[in-house]
Amino acid sequence: MAMLDIKDLTIEYPDRHGVFQATKNVNLTVNRGEILGIVGESGAGKSTIGNAVMGLLQSPGRIGQGEVYLDETRLDTLPFEDMRKLRGKKIAMIFQDPMTSLNPLETVESQLVETIELHLKLGSAGARARAVSLLDQVGIPDPEQRISQYPHEFSGGMRQRVVIALALAAEPDVIIADEPTTALDVSIQAQILDLIRDLCREKNVGMILVTHDMGVISQTADRVAVMYRGKLVEIGDTKQITQNPQHEYTKALISAVPPSNMRIDRFQHVGFGKEGGGLKEFDLNNHWLGQGRSDEKGDAAILQIKDLNKVFKSTSGFLGSKGVETHAVRDVSFEVSTGQTFGIVGESGSGKSTIARLITGIHKPTSGQVVFEGLDLLARPKSRQDLLTKRQIQMIFQDPYSSLNPRMRVENIVAEPIIVNNLAGSRAEAISIARDLLQLVELDDTAGRRFPHAFSGGQRQRISIARALASRPRFLICDEPTSALDVSIQAQILNLLKDLQARLNLTLLFISHDLPVMRQMCDQIAVMRYGEIVETGDAEGIFVAPQHSYTQDLISLMPKFERLG
């Protein structure tokens, strides 16, 4: 018999519209020393399973049906106090965000010792010794010293190690890890996954690894359960699921994952979760959108950046006196050719988003040059034509939930750039163009009358694209445009961007931390670290033969989801 046995589990959330079932009749088992991955997109119900096993479903959630066994003990009917004693002792949990998982006002020692003393009878000296040894096991250097520090004195990756040490405190049988590396940078992510895998083997612990990331699953899990809208659609060995999926949904999911080892032209779309209905056919020569557009391609640089620097000064203290300085962008130079996609890749804090905001003029550079179509963007615009040229740079943002004004109707959002810049004869014409643009990004006819909250993340990203197009841009900056989206939606948005680029001869500046996505999208790539570009080159070249040691590290540590042929 399996160590952890979940039978026929249905989790319900009653609300004003009735009872919502977060999971429906899910059956899962986990053995000792085994890592079971649960993968799925948002709304699949994967996280609630972990919470239900722990007996920590957030109100008003409840187990509607089913049984949960740990060895011979039935967990779901256990009284609260008995269940509490098992938590941490038999089943432990690792949370997503290490920055918020630890009590900021208590030392690491206090939190560890408290947990150890609660579950193991070791005495205070013994508990402390064990705490130090745990920190050592999770790879924290100099544990004797660091144990007496507070959480804020640890970096994100180190904090997640502390969280793992806390989960291991009482030698649990099962660990539930809920997106344990999602909040971490790529290089840290690889280290934490290695640590988790090794600890499971070493201590013979069973683990449920909940994640949305196929790369993480394929590198870490022994078996994979695929969930879709609360249902378990497929379960099997990792290799079988990733190489030879059976269920239609799994196939769609796998085909939407950007492969790390090759560039594919387009993501194939499979019937599941398709939001748009194919690019609408426009005769661009006759449409507003096609006016004043050129088809020139080639080596002419549309954007030139020279020796760009940005120093942020944090203001603090009485009446805003000057504080600390941060050099966010340091001596950055590059050129983007017309019609191409130029990628900037880097980890958090590398300065890649700051560059986007220096180009758009949201931030003023400390020094350097930004030239777009021969126009110095840092100089004060001399004519209306200069202003209109400047507006030809538009941007698609990272967070679809904050990039649309929630108080405006969608058609007004899309029409606003046309109206502000007097690009159409009348307001009515502007609205009608806006509706066309919404159709161009594959939204239906009624979309314009509604407010943003009526749309999903992917649909909102389409609205965002339509708004950018309403300025008749030639240059589109995409700042992590899909990092907040599910992988199948990501594939659709990336396809849409590629199609629009081809039809409108757009130049893209694509900013991301996600190397496999970059490989699919970019012609040229610049790799950034600490505000500097360490390497620039042809995209395939960067992946096949990286020159700089940092690029080599990034490429070797990126989550690998490879596709054959």
Partner: protein, 304 residues
Amino acid sequence: MDTLKQFLASDFFYSFRRTPVAVVSFCIAVILILSAVLAPVIAPYNPFDPATLNLMNGFSKPMEPNAFTGETFLLGTDDQGRDVFSTILYGMRVSLFVGFAAVLLALVLGVTLGLTAAMAGGRTDAIIMRIADIQLSFPAILIAMLIFGIAKGITPPDMRNQMAIWVLILSIGLSDWVQFARVVRGAAMVERQKEYVEAAQLIGRGPFTVAFKHILPNVVASVLVIATISLALAIIAEATLSFLGVGAPPTQPSLGTLIRIGQGFLFSGEWWILFFPATTLLLLALSVNLLGDWLRNTLNPNMD
């Protein structure tokens, strides 16, 4: 029609319907406000028309015929024979007028300054918020009294009674803007970080349009909550000032003035002269506060 239908189907209205406290306090507030507005129609007597007053009617008990004249008054009369029910209606008019006007003043001032602070940032922000902090550490009532004191000094004595109401509005409004400014600034700072603001700048919107067209509609929820709570506070502040004798004059009594007058009779047995105005004040403030509390929970805007 469409908008109405949308409103009736919204979560907001659903939450209202499902919260009896909200419904009841809304009804009470509406009834009180309406009866204050319609006081000249509803009130059985005009308490400020000396011609209708009869000193013989003084100290009539509620619902009992007066010993001398045989007249019956719903809530009794005061020492001068004025009908308590009518004075309450007219008093509420003064209280509500001062309350609403003061909140309006504080709202306009606070929202403008808060929004300016959030959008301008840097030194402007620091100066505005420093002033707000300093003012916050002095209770509203103290600031109101100071303004009142100054105003009393600069207005000629024969104008004082006429000016009193406006001085009240000014002093309460000026002492209350800080709440609006702080909350609007906080909420606007959150909004300003959002990408739609950047998008608006990118398509060529100037800072003024961004602030008032894009950000302001998104902080309305916070403003609404603060305005409701402030209304209750302003009504109470007005009553307190009038009670202390630095508010509405006896010729134009507010609920606070009525309580000040009634206090003198409490210990001699004429409890109704105090009791009914006090209860009205409590009902008014409580229903507005309960509404504000419910709004805060429902709209759940980002607030300190």
